[in-house]
Symmetry: C2
Subunit: 434 residues, 2 copies
């Protein structure tokens, strides 16, 4: 993409309305714009990141054996009356009346709807287990939306739902999603810590939150040092294995949010205890028969008997993750994207637009990198170009200037480390295998 | 995907509520389920098709130089008061009041919102032209939703918006989208006919609808035979060329819906006139300054003067296209997917589950085809397997039975033609290049 044509309205100044760094940087880098309180338009650069995050989430759900479908955003109130949550949910639920005066709502989550889809279409024990998921926009009418996409009203969520014949099988589904979450966050370069959690209005007795660590995180967390030091990225997992030992290993060590911190543990763990800042990006629940009983989700067993299915639900805040990634990866100059979620891999800077050698070298590089490059071909000062490129945080910058190119050389800069190298044009192409 | 594990609830009987063939077949093939009037859940098989259609639409928008972003589903009513459409839109607009008693709505289209996004972020004439698009769920509260996804209330639409400095440039953007639409439908195997259209509540004076032809189409259309005989699929287009001659060629021939048909043309065209059935799948508008004037979308010109931008909008009903494709491609046994949008390319049928040679051959084929195969590994009668595979309409069936496989042979069946071939296992793999 050529920056001269790209819709990328960057801002020099910090917007007054943004209180946290990810919100500030998403506005400044031209990733989002607010269109109503807690409701955002994702501009092209932000949309590219959101899509990459979504795709990693999708691939890891698929790998764990979950199947993707898509439920609608608008739901009938009757469904929620069946489960009893319609009245409980309160003002966070966006309630709607349609032209025929039917009560509808914008889904804040989908336990009821997926239970109805399952109940109406799955009848036999042989069709279980099933894990179904979708990636869809949700709405929660927060009383004070803030922090940009971290606590918006309309937000993109991946929610999966498992259906099993008995509690032991339900635990296996839970473990699959548990491990899928660890892999998902690790692939994005995030250090995720699972923490035992309360189940709240979803219900059930087994639940974990996943917090990723970021210096500017929303809440204090206390975690065993081993969590910090274990790298999940290259860990191979076979989902057909018994995953319980791995889950036990990951949940056997101390990891809690501030509210649940036991000061006695500080003494016990000594320097094995790390106090850090965390951001909640996922939450999983095993809630047994709470919805299947209320909504009569049963299948016929081998002898024809009725089996009320065991369920769990598994959420990842996809749009929230984009903000969380920036909280984890930024510096004073702007965003520092991990490669897996970067909107473009390479930013190409032409320091002297109109200089035939600079232009020719840039065109060669631009064609070679294809869709993975953002080419700053604007007629702007070098300082503006450097500042914008640092702000939007692409992992690599290739800088083409008249002096270097006279000797066939360009500069390669790592956004993360700031390291710069002089390389020939050919060496750059070779370095990226293009 | 193994069918024994796949969430594919096919139906033997025609559902009583479905009046048209695409609705019947989408329900029977386990592609969708209604969750409220005119609101559907896309089950895994339907979701795969919707994604493929969406991706073709996206690629052709990108190729034509449009840039993707994502606007939210929920909009503030104020935006629509600026354009004057809030009161005009009537009961089809789903109106919502949030917890702070602010008037909101579920977007039925996005002219107002994109105009505001543009106005707030683009200030200089040098930043034009721009074509911005998104693929997002919309809601229109139809008084009588029917025909499945063909006239649902919550539906997926691609809507693009162009911004230009003067009418001539706006016409160039219009032409780009016009040609992109021809390419988009052709890639899906659809014969699309552009027809001069009224602009209705969107406004403006230049507009075309795109109708695809299907024997079971919703309305009669009268078109010049040349449209039927021209194949767009292999036509190369350079979007930097002047596209006007091509658009003139495509709009110079007679093509109208029944309401606009002039009986005198029948005499004039003779056997060059074809009466067919059509389904509207796209609509494009050039509406000049209608929204930019009302909402003050201006940029500074070369001399600092204010230029009110020229706009157009360009819609494709993405979820509607899935229904339209089935109207165009089905037979008595079920759906007949064109390869470009088929949920899987190959259906693999194991006629004797448990037979070691059949099982081994199927596993070999299953691994080789990867994500492009649906493997019927169920313990069902052959007749059930054949019927289900014909119903869901994958382009190719590979049938593995004990007699053939004893000689190393399997059967390859084309769903479209019904042609069957006996081939060796190796020849099948070679045939598909896997």
């Amino acid at each position: 993409m050529r920056l001269s044509a790209y819709f990328l309205p960057t801002l020099k100044e910090n917007p007054a309305e943004a209180q946290i760094v990810s919100h500030r940087l998403m506005l400044r880098a031209g990733m989002i714009r607010q269109t109503a309180a807690g409701i955002y338009t994702w501009l092209p650069l932000g949309w590219r990141v959101l899509r990459k995050v979504e795709q990693i989430v999708r691939e890891e759900q698929d790998r764990a054996g979950a199947q993707e479908l898509l439920m609608p955003t608008i739901q009938a109130a009757e469904l929620w009356k069946e489960s009893g949550r319609y009245d409980d949910y309160g003002k966070e639920m966006l309630r709607i009346t349609d032209r025929h005066d039917r009560e509808m709502l914008y889904g804040p989550t989908n336990e009821e709807m997926i239970t109805a889809v399952f109940r109406d279409n799955v009848k036999r024990y042989r069709d279980l287990p099933k894990i179904l998921y979708h990636i869809q926009w949700k709405f929660r009418d927060e009383v004070r939306p803030r922090f940009g996409v971290m606590r918006g009203r309309e937000f993109l969520m991946k929610d999966a739902y498992s259906f099993d014949l008995d509690p032991a099988a339900a635990r296996r589904s839970y473990n699959r999603m548990f491990i899928a979450y660890m892999r998902t966050f690790a692939r994005m370069g995030l250090k995720a810590i699972p923490m035992r959690a309360d189940t709240g209005p979803i219900g059930g007795d087994l639940s974990h939150e996943f917090h990723i660590l970021a210096e500017t995180g929303e809440s204090a967390v206390f975690v065993h040092r081993d969590f910090i030091e274990t790298d999940w990225r290259n860990r191979e997992v076979d989902y057909d294995d018994d995953l319980q030992p791995l889950v036990d290993e990951l949940t056997g060590k101390y990891a809690v949010t501030e509210e649940k911190h036991d000061p006695a543990m500080a003494a016990e763990l000594g320097d094995k205890l790390v106090c850090a800042r965390g951001i909640e990006v996922g939450h999983i629940f095993n809630f047994g028969q709470k919805y299947s009983k209320a909504m009569n989700a049963v299948v016929a067993g081998p002898g024809g008997e009725s089996i009320t299915v065991e369920m769990g639900s598994y959420g990842i805040g996809v749009s929230r993750l984009v903000g969380a990634l920036i909280e984890a990866y930024h510096d004073d100059a702007g965003i520092v994207w991990p490669e897996a979620v970067a909107p473009f891999k390479v930013g190409l800077i032409n320091l002297k637009k109109g200089d035939p050698r600079c232009d020719a070298a840039c065109e060669t590089l631009y064609r070679a990198f294809g869709s993975d490059v953002l080419y700053d071909d604007r007629d702007e000062r070098a300082g503006v170009k450097f500042a914008d490129m640092d702000l939007i945080g692409l992992p690599w910058q290739v800088i083409v200037g008249p002096k270097g190119i006279a000797n066939g050389m360009v500069e390669l800069k790592s956004r993360r480390t700031g390291d710069r190298q002089e390389l020939s044009l050919e060496a750059v192409l070779e370095r990226f295998g293009v």
